[in-house]
């Protein structure tokens, strides 16, 4: 009897520390499944962020570096320049990538640094307890904008995928969701594409994954997926914002 679904060998046996229903676990698994598919076992280095995914180095079954907050693209740049033939990826949340690490993100993208970035956008600072993120939606409540985000007071959310797609350096920029089976399969295809770009030396590729934070959103896991699908996508529409292989066709 063939296995219909088995945990990928690119994840370790360490149980995820994430809250119940948090879709970080799905994003980890999809990334690891793609790493297995492309034959990255024994051939890749990952970079973990600061934030909820800070322990990602315990989960991915490959060499890992833990970066300072926001600096993962710079750390990944250093690794990739030393080992240009190895698969190098960073896995970062929205506070890490889009706030404190925005400069590192934009410039790694602008350089066309040949790395793959997995960007988890859950519109909140999860690890520190639900503060407003650069991706918190207008009107969304957070512990540092308790009446809901008011642009006049709290500024506006940052659309990272659309922004980076304006640059010449990136090869592939997409935003995906994890709302249901169909979207999860689409997300995996986007992640595969982002790693294929690196294998083919096309330069910087990023997949922004709309993720959930049931704990800090104050929703049960199923309602959180619904909120992600119905509310987050209003500000963060899904799609492929840049694909140079399409442009080349």
């Amino acid at each position: 009897m063939a296995k219909g679904f088995k945990k990928t060998k690119m994840l370790t046996d360490t149980p995820f520390h994430y809250c119940p229903g948090c879709t970080h676990g799905i994003a980890h698994r999809l990334t690891a499944e793609v790493l297995e598919e492309i034959g990255a076992e024994g051939n890749c280095v990952g970079v973990a962020p600061v934030g909820c995914a800070v322990f990602a180095y315990n989960y991915f079954n490959c060499d890992m570096q833990e970066a300072a907050h926001g600096r993962a693209p710079a750390v990944a740049t250093g690794i990739k320049r030393v080992h240009p033939d190895k698969i190098v990826f960073s896995y970062q949340g929205d506070g890490d990538l889009a706030s404190i690490g925005m400069a590192e993100t934009v410039h790694a993208a602008a350089r066309g640094e040949n790395i793959t970035v997995i960007f988890i956008n859950n519109s909140i600072y999860g690890m520190t307890g639900g503060q407003m993120a650069p991706t918190t939606l207008e009107g969304q409540k957070a512990t540092t904008c308790q009446a809901g985000r008011i642009p006049e007071l709290n500024g506006n959310p940052v659309n990272v995928a659309e922004m980076l797609a304006q640059l010449k350096g990136p090869s592939y920029i997409a935003r995906v969701g994890l709302f249901d089976l169909k979207h999860v399969m689409e997300a995996k295809r986007a992640i595969r594409k982002a790693f294929d770009m690196q294998i083919n030396k096309k330069g910087f590729a990023m997949v922004e994954i709309l993720s959930t934070c049931p704990t800090n959103w104050g929703l049960n896991p199923i309602d959180a997926l619904e909120w992600s699908k119905n509310e987050a996508t209003k500000t963060f529409p899904l799609g492929v914002f840049k694909d140079i292989t399409k442009e080349e066709e």
Binding site: M1, G4, K6, Y18, P20, V184, P221
Partner: protein
């Protein structure tokens, strides 16, 4: 027929698998909890499982394996 196996100690009772199952075969147990105190996901009518692995694909904690 497909066979599901649950790595119950890892289950956090989030219920994403329950929602994902197209045959509505999964539920969260009302009696069985694991060491972390979560009521774990269980399958009731395994003969009806079509082995689509939607549950495993949506599970954030790699709890479910599917044989078919």
């Amino acid at each position: 027929m497909a066979k599901l196996s649950f790595n119950k100690p890892l289950c956090k009772g989030c219920g994403l698998c329950v929602t994902a199952c197209p045959k509505k075969l999964l539920s969260l147990s009302k009696t069985e909890s694991n060491a972390n105190g979560y009521f774990v996901a269980v399958i009731e009518n395994e003969e009806a499982c079509i082995g689509c692995a939607a549950c495993a694909t949506m599970c954030p904690d790699c709890v479910i394996e599917v044989e078919r």
